[in-house]
Structure formats: structure tokens, C-alpha cells
């Protein structure tokens, strides 16, 4: 139990996908102009990461490991991820056309969101069991969503600030991201001493 809690916190906060591993930065900068869009993106990515990680775990265990096909790992993983993204895209388009509009190009681009493949590869490297792998993937994507929403909130306020022209736009967004990463360093080393 304690290990699971620690792993949840570790994957979500301490080794946050965006702020500590620097994965998924394109969507982090791209779709965080509004809180609801960022939350939608977080939800979609959470779904994709969790589902594809489960599938990838199975592929790794029963296909790649079983038949010694390790060299196919990237290809098969991307295949699984792309399918999951396609499915998510269709669902969102059906359920919420507005969110579909707002996410725009970033939705199909979840396929190439390095966070998704990154989490899948981390699982494989960690040699986790199925439950642990699923939990890890879910916690990682929760961390991703949390940071996306926080950053969107900060940017909503940033839009109203009179930032000097030199720093307006992406520069100040990156500065904020770095300060946020600094704040998240406070979680480093969380363990039950």
C-alpha cells in the first residue's frame, strides 16, 4: 500500500512528466491558453496514456518479450498509441465539438506527444507488473493534467498583465514554466524516512 502511494506521488509530482522529465512540452505550451481547454487536453491525454500503456504492457510482455522482438518496440508502441489517439479523437468529436475545435491540431498530435511514448517506455524499463504499470501510467498522466491546468490558470492571468514587450508571449510563458518547475522541486526526495 505504502509503495503504491509513494509511486503515485512520485510519478505525479516528484518526477512530473512535464516539469521534471520535460516530456510533452509542445502541448504544454500549445493548449494552455484557457483552463477548460487545458483540462480537456489533460483528460484526453490521461485516457490515451492509460489505455495505451496498458496495451503496450501487454504487447511487451506477450509479444515482444515472448518472441524476442525487442527491435519492434517503437513501431508497435506507436501503432497502439496512434490507434488510441484516433479513438479518442472520434469520441471527442462526437461528444464535444467545441472542445474538438479548441484542441485543434493538438489532438491528433497526441500521437507524437512524447509524454505518451515516454511513459510507455518508462514502464518497460521499470519492469513493473500490470497493476503497477497501469497505476504508474495513470499517475503520470494525472501529473501531466495537473500541470497543464495550473499552467493554463497562470497564463489566463498572464494575458491580463502588462508584460514588457521584450518578454511578452512565449518568453514570459517559459519563465513562468521554469519558476513552476522550481516550485515543484520542493517535492523532490519525497520518501518515508
Amino acid at each position: 500500500m505504502k509503495e503504491f502511494v509513494l509511486m503515485l506521488i512520485g510519478a505525479a509530482l516528484v518526477n512530473n512528466v512535464i516539469l521534471a522529465r520535460f516530456l510533452g512540452l509542445c502541448s504544454f505550451m500549445g493548449v494552455t491558453t484557457r483552463i477548460d481547454t487545458a483540462a480537456g487536453m489533460g483528460l484526453a491525454t490521461t485516457f490515451v496514456i492509460t489505455v495505451s500503456s496498458m496495451a503496450d504492457w501487454a504487447v511487451q510482455r506477450y509479444l515482444l518479450d515472448a518472441y524476442g522482438l525487442g527491435f519492434l518496440r517503437t513501431v508497435t508502441f506507436i501503432l497502439v498509441i496512434a490507434s488510441a489517439v484516433q479513438f479518442t479523437e472520434m469520441t471527442i468529436r462526437k461528444v464535444s465539438p467545441t472542445l474538438f475545435q479548441m484542441l485543434g491540431i493538438y489532438l491528433p498530435l497526441i500521437t507524437t506527444n512524447c509524454a505518451v511514448l515516454g511513459v510507455a517506455l518508462l514502464l518497460v524499463e521499470g519492469h513493473m507488473g500490470f497493476l503497477a504499470a497501469t497505476l504508474f501510467a495513470f499517475a503520470s498522466s494525472l501529473g501531466y493534467s495537473l500541470v497543464m491546468v495550473i499552467f493554463a490558470g497562470l497564463r489566463e492571468r498572464l494575458v491580463l498583465a502588462q508584460v514588457p514587450r521584450l518578454f511578452a508571449g512565449p518568453p514570459i510563458a517559459f519563465i513562468v514554466a521554469s519558476l513552476l518547475a522550481m516550485a515543484f522541486m520542493g517535492f523532490s526526495g519525497i520518501s518515508t524516512s
Binding site: 522482438l69 501503432l79 484516433q86 479513438f87 472520434m90 468529436r93 465539438p97
Partner: protein, 177 residues
């Protein structure tokens, strides 16, 4: 080798089949965004946006080829409505909103040729041959279609005079600016 090819092929087929089924159940009708956009435009077909008419402008907007600030007669209000529908952000301060304008006939120059009457998209100009024309203020959109048609340059655009009811407090100047 065979196993690799076979497994990839199998995965492809299986996932493809799954997606195909999903696509069947989750099919979405294409939303008629073009018609919606056209409904927001003034519909006076004045051509100031560079497109032949409002329908064409709406089509270009839907394809993402035109900017939402394309419609001068619509001003900020239309630009904002279009941006909201298209789900994009727009810098309204960039809209060259000169404020509402009206066409005006200089009576001493007008020769009563009726050319402006024919091009006015809203039938806002009244007059007959050899009679001095006049603009109905309520109907004029300030689209400027008549300005170039006038052979004697009797047509000019003037800003609508500010009245007590239409006066707006200026935005406070910020100290930091």
C-alpha cells in the same frame, strides 16, 4: 522474421478493425459552419473584404483562409462573433474600427446620374434622374460602394456625429504605458 511480419500485420488488422467499428458508431455529421458564419456577416455583398460576396467570405473563413477581422462594415462586433464561433482568439485593438460612418451627398456637385443608387447594396440612396440624390441615414452601412461610382466625387464618407446617447467614456490611460 515471419513472426515479426505476422504479428505486425495482425496488430494492424486488429486495431484497424477496432477503429473502423468505432468510426461507424461515432460518426459525426459535418456541422454547417459555413452557413452559420454567413449568417453573422452583414450580407450586403459590398466586397470590401476582397471576396465577391458574403457567402464567399464565409467559405474562406470556414477554410481558415481569411481572418475574422475581414469585414469593415461589421466592425468589432462581427469580428468578435466570428472569433467566438471559430474558437479563436482575436486582437480586437488591431481592427481598424473608424467608428460608424455614413455616406453623404454634396448637393452642389451631385448631377443626379443615379449610378450610386444602382450599386447601393441596401437601397439607402434615394433620387431620380437629374434630381439631387440623398442618403437615408438609417439604411446606410457606410460600405463605400457608392464612393467610387460617383463621377463627380459628390459622395463622401463622414463619421456619424457623436450624440449624447452615443458618447463613450474614454478608456483610462494606464500609468505604466
Amino acid at each position: 522474421m515471419l513472426i515479426a511480419v505476422g504479428s505486425l500485420a495482425f496488430m494492424g488488422l486488429a486495431l484497424g478493425g477496432l477503429l473502423g467499428t468505432a468510426a461507424h458508431y461515432l460518426a459525426v455529421e459535418e456541422d454547417p459552419i459555413e452557413a452559420e458564419l454567413q449568417a453573422m456577416l452583414p450580407g450586403s455583398q459590398c466586397g470590401q473584404c476582397g471576396y465577391v460576396g458574403c457567402a464567399q467570405a464565409a467559405a474562406a473563413l470556414a477554410r481558415g483562409e481569411a481572418v475574422v477581422t475581414l469585414c469593415p462594415p461589421g466592425g468589432k462586433a462581427v469580428a468578435e462573433a466570428l472569433a467566438a464561433r471559430l474558437g479563436i482568439k482575436v486582437d480586437l485593438s488591431a481592427v481598424a474600427d473608424t467608428g460608424p460612418q455614413l455616406a453623404q451627398v454634396s448637393e452642389e456637385i451631385c448631377i443626379g446620374c443615379c449610378r450610386c443608387i444602382k450599386v447601393c447594396p441596401t437601397d439607402a440612396i434615394v433620387g431620380a434622374a437629374k434630381q439631387i440624390h440623398n442618403v437615408i441615414r438609417e439604411a446606410c452601412t457606410g460600405c463605400a460602394a457608392c464612393i467610387d461610382r460617383c463621377p463627380t466625387e459628390a459622395m463622401t464618407l463622414v463619421p456619424v456625429p457623436v450624440s449624447l446617447q452615443h458618447w463613450i467614456w474614454p478608456k483610462p490611460a494606464t500609468a505604466n504605458a
